[in-house]
Structures are given as structure tokens and as C-alpha cells.
């Protein structure tokens, strides 16, 4: 479904109910109609449930926020409403953004629409599913460690994570503030550009918002001369020869069209540290960010004999065990006696990781790999988190996943990284690659 494609609300709701019965992607519908008539008046948008929509419950997949209703719109929601867009619903997600499977939400798990016995991916599970099933052409989401790109891959949609700071985080429930990025899902790159054009921009309400002017896009920009690196470390993790062949066939197609393709390897010693560094930093920041979820002023509010007991009751019942684990590990990392050797050390190693990542872009314009190492696993199977994706979060560089192939009817994505603030260039090249993929698909 395309961004400005007209459809009546009845048809949309029928599609939503059909999807919901199979996938559990929707948490709640937004009842307030937007009466502003502008360019985006026919556009229905889904919003991940950690992004505030005024007057609509916001749970972020967690019992601790049960009953919480935001008093204001997030900046990204405000921008959509000002253009006349209709906010249709809030989408299911892994609790507080912590998860990559879509399985850990107080609203129940989200299932993959291509095969309901498989995971949808997360944490932006519902957003990916609703775009994949033609309920909406655009769904807002967030990406702290791959939470847009993994579900995008597993659901066969475009998942866009911009440069950190280019889209405002005001009104978004923070998980790991130094990496949280607002992005979105669409069905094609052209729509991704339209969405980025609208949503990006400096916001004085968000102190991490970056004032960077929007560049122009040339969709007829040729791929000739573009320098694309194949991230070998990522391809080494792909065990299915069919997936690898498809990827390398595409690279050869790009080469034939004039792109300069070369294989690159990120130092494996550093790649092995990406996941632990990410875990330490995100757990520590989450522990700090969620300290205010105390069950006193909003959300789940349990009673107790005293103030402390009331807070303990609320937090014990409000957080799931997977979240408690992360918060506990974060707190341990932040303790005075541990901070230097765990948290601060992670921050120092982060700098080394990012400096090395930046070096790859000294010679190259983009890096390519598969988003996930295979199609979505079955629910009972192990999920292998593609840790290389987190390089985009540690560095703040832009990245996206676009639909690439399918296996036994389940999709998987192609992943692109670009250098800092090269979002527009990344969209340009993704458009060309998308055309090549589509042309090949039509021929076969």
C-alpha cells in the first residue's frame, strides 16, 4: 500500500481486524479524528506504543504503564497531524523497547503474518506487521539496537533508521538515550523519503536533536561510480547458501551497472565486542531512564503500607522478568565500585568501535549485507541477534532494511549502512537497488 493511496476507513478497519486476529499487532485504536485538511489527509499512520499520542493510552508493552494516557503528542505525531494525517492505532512492541522478537509484551506476543508460528521480530513488531499486511502505508517505530530493521526484514517491508538526532525523540519513551532513534516502516523507498522529509528536523524540545538541513534527493541518480562495501563479517554468519548466492548475485548486478563493489572486513576482535558493549550501555541507560516508573504518579499504581512498599509492589508487578534482568545488570554496571571497569570501559570501547567503523567510510560510501542471517525463526527456535546491526546505533549512523527475498514464503531483507548524515544519499542508492531487485523479481 502506498502513502497517498486512497482507501475508505471501513476497508482499512476490516483489514486491521483481519490482521489483528492472526498477529496481535494492534494495541489500541485512536478514536480522535484529525480534521485538518492538508496534503496528508488521506494517509493513515500507525504509531509504535512507546510514542505519545495525546489522549490515547501508551503502554510501551509494559504493565508498569497500565492506564497511562499522555497529555501531549510526540513531535513526530504533531508533525503528521499538522499535515492532516490520521493516526489510526498504537502498535504492539517488546516491553519498553527491550527485545528483538516481538514476543515479550504485556499485550501478548506479535506473530509473523507470513507464518504465525514464527516471530515477527521486534521491538517494533506491530508496526512492521501492519505495513506488511497493507493496513497502513506508514508506521512509526524506534530503533535502539536494530528494533526497526529486524522486524522490517522479517516482514518484508522497508525499515528506516535515520542518523541519530535527525528525527525528534520528544514524546518518545526513552530506553537507551544515547542510541534511541525514531524511524519508520513503509512499503517502498520513495515513501520512506516522503516520510523522512516530513518527520526530520531540529526540535528545541529534544536536547539531542541535531540541526542539520534536509538535503535534496535525485531518484534518477545512477548507481555508477558508487562505492559499496560488502560487510564480510555479516555475510560469514549466513549459513544458507541460497541467501548468500542471492546477495552476491545482486552485488554482481550492481557491479554490472557501474557500482564499485569491494569486500571489507571489520576487525573481528572489535566485532566480538559490539554486542557486550551495547548490552552494558543500554542496560545502564535503561536502568536510569526507568527509575521514574515508580507507580506513584501514573501507570500501574499499587498500594502499600508505606511509600517504599507501594513503589516496590508496582515495580515488581509492572516489569516482566526479562526487563528486570536488564535493569538489574544495568544497576550493577553503574555501581560506584563497578562503573569504571564496566560502564565507563564500555563507553571507551564504544569510541574505539565507532572510530574503526568510521574508517570504513573513508573509502566507501555505503556498506551492504543481509539484515538478518535468515528468515524469521519459529517461536520455539533460538533467535540469533545480528550484532553487526548495532554498529549503526553505537555510531549514530543511518541504516535501513529493504525487502530482498523470501524463503518458504517468509521474507528477509537487504541492509545498508551509510556514513553520518548521509541519509539522503542512502535513500537514493536504496531506490536504485530496490528497482533492480523488483525488475529481477518481475523477470523471474
Amino acid at each position: 500500500m502506498r502513502l497517498f493511496e486512497k482507501r475508505d476507513i471501513q476497508t482499512i478497519m476490516e483489514q486491521c481486524h483481519k490482521t489483528q486476529s492472526r498477529t496481535n499487532a494492534i494495541v489500541s485504536f485512536v478514536h480522535e479524528k484529525n480534521n485538518i485538511k492538508k496534503d496528508w489527509s488521506d494517509v493513515y499512520v500507525a504509531v509504535k506504543d512507546n510514542i505519545s499520542v495525546k489522549g490515547t493510552p501508551c503502554m510501551a508493552g509494559s504493565k508498569i504503564l497500565n492506564g497511562y494516557i499522555p497529555l501531549y503528542d510526540a513531535t513526530v505525531v504533531k508533525k503528521l497531524k499538522e499535515k492532516g494525517a490520521q493516526i489510526l492505532c498504537k502498535t504492539n512492541m517488546d516491553e519498553l523497547g527491550m527485545g528483538a522478537t516481538g514476543q515479550n509484551s504485556c499485550c501478548g506476543p506479535t506473530f509473523n503474518p507470513y507464518d504465525v508460528q514464527r516471530i515477527s521480530g521486534g521491538s517494533s513488531s506491530g508496526s512492521a506487521v501492519l505495513v506488511a499486511t497493507d493496513c497502513v502505508p506508514l508506521a512509526l517505530a524506534t530503533d535502539t539496537g536494530d528494533s526497526i530493521r529486524v522486524p522490517a526484514s522479517y516482514n518484508g517491508v522497508v525499515g528506516f533508521k535515520p542518523t541519530y538526532g535527525r528525527i525528534s525523540r520528544y514524546g518518545v519513551i526513552s530506553y537507551a538515550s544515547s542510541m534511541d532513534t525514531v524511524g519508520f516502516m513503509t512499503t517502498c523507498i520513495e515513501d520512506a523519503w516522503r516520510a523522512f522529509e516530513l518527520l526530520q528536523g531540529y526540535d528545541p524540545n529534544d536536547m539531542t536533536s541535531i540541526d542539520h538541513s534536509l538535503g535534496s534527493i535525485n531518484f534518477s541518480q545512477s548507481i555508477q561510480g558508487k562505492k559499496i562495501g560488502i560487510l564480510k563479517n555479516a555475510l560469514d554468519q549466513v549459513t544458507d547458501p541460497e541467501l548468500k548466492k542471492k546477495f552476491y548475485d545482486l552485488m554482481n548486478d550492481l557491479r554490472r551497472q557501474g557500482a564499485i563493489i569491494q569486500e571489507v572486513r571489520y576487525p573481528q576482535e572489535l566485532m566480538d565486542l559490539v554486542l557486550p558493549v551495547y548490552q552494558v550501555i543500554s542496560n545502564s541507560e535503561a536502568c536510569s531512564n526507568f527509575a521514574h516508573l515508580d507507580g506513584i504518579r501514573f501507570g500501574l499504581q499499587k498500594s502499600g503500607l508505606n511509600y517504599k512498599e507501594a513503589i516496590t509492589q508496582s515495580r515488581t508487578e509492572g516489569f516482566s522478568f526479562p526487563v528486570k534482568r536488564r535493569l538489574l545488570l544495568g544497576a550493577y554496571s553503574l555501581y560506584e565500585e563497578n562503573q569504571h571497569r564496566i560502564y565507563q570501559k564500555a563507553q571507551k570501547i564504544r569510541r574505539l568501535l565507532v572510530d574503526e567503523f568510521q574508517k570504513l567510510f573513508d573509502d566507501l560510501e555505503f556498506l551492504a549485507c543481509l539484515t538478518t542471517t535468515d528468515i524469521a525463526p519459529k517461536i520455539e527456535e533460538e533467535f540469533i541477534d545480528p550484532s553487526y546491526l548495532k554498529l549503526a546505533n553505537l555510531s549514530g549512523f543511518p541504516a535501513l532494511s529493504l525487502p530482498f527475498g523470501s524463503k518458504i514464503g517468509c521474507p528477509y531483507g537487504l541492509h545498508l549502512f551509510a556514513g553520518a548524515f548521509q541519509d539522503e544519499k542512502m535513500i537514493e542508492i536504496a531506490y536504485q537497488i530496490e528497482k533492480i531487485i523488483d525488475d529481477k523479481e518481475n523477470l523471474s
Binding site: G67, Y68, I69, L71, Y164, G165, S177, S178, M179, Y202, P204, M207, S209, I210, L273, P276, Q279, V280, I296, R297, F298, G299, Q301, S303, L305, N306, Y307, K308, E309, A310, I311, T312, R315, T316, F319, F321, K324, R325, L327, L328, L329, A331, Y332, S333, N338, R341, I342, Q344, K345, A346, Q347, K348, I349, R350, R351, L352, V354, S395, G396, A420
Partner: protein, 94 residues
């Protein structure tokens, strides 16, 4: 030793865990210590911690003046227990 540490952290974080969850946490803490040992093999002498992406790219903080104050009645809309424009909590002092 891990049990005492877990007790302390749970006290600080204000939530509880049952015995099975605590067992898992013990294993998690051991894993975290292994990560710490892995970190210690990296030479980070003279390397500054990277606090966030693109340090130095932020505009000056705006003045700490409320632009649009939120009415207390609105602020209390999400509070279950309130009285006379105040949040009511169980007694603080035991």
C-alpha cells in the same frame, strides 16, 4: 557473595524476584563479570568515554523557562490517588 549483591540491587531498584529468577540473575552476573574481563583486555589508555553520538553537534540548551506550563489538574489526570492538587502517597516515614 552474589546473593548479597542481588539483595542490595533489588533493594535499590525497588522490585522483588523469586528464587528461580534470582538463580538466573546469578548466572547473568557471572556473565557480566566475564564481559568485564573481556573489556579489560582492550587498551583504552587516553581514550575518552563516548557518552553519545556526535558530541558537539548539539545546539545550546534553551533557557530553563516553562514555555507552556501544564495545569496541575492535567498533570494529575494520570494519578489514581490525589487530593487538593497533590499526589497522595502512603506515609513516607515508617
Amino acid at each position: 557473595m552474589n546473593r548479597q549483591i542481588i539483595d542490595k540491587i533489588l533493594e535499590d531498584l525497588h522490585f522483588e524476584m523469586d528464587i528461580h529468577e534470582r538463580k538466573q540473575i546469578e548466572a547473568d552476573l557471572d556473565a557480566l563479570e566475564r564481559i568485564s574481563r573481556q573489556f579489560s583486555t582492550m587498551d583504552t589508555k587516553d581514550v575518552e568515554p563516548m557518552v553519545t553520538c556526535f558530541e558537539g553537534n548539539w545546539k545550546n540548551l534553551r533557557e530553563d523557562i516553562p514555555i507552556k506550563p501544564v495545569a496541575s489538574t492535567d498533570l494529575l489526570k494520570n494519578t489514581k490517588s490525589k487530593k487538593d492538587n497533590f499526589v497522595v502517597v502512603s506515609k513516607v516515614v515508617k
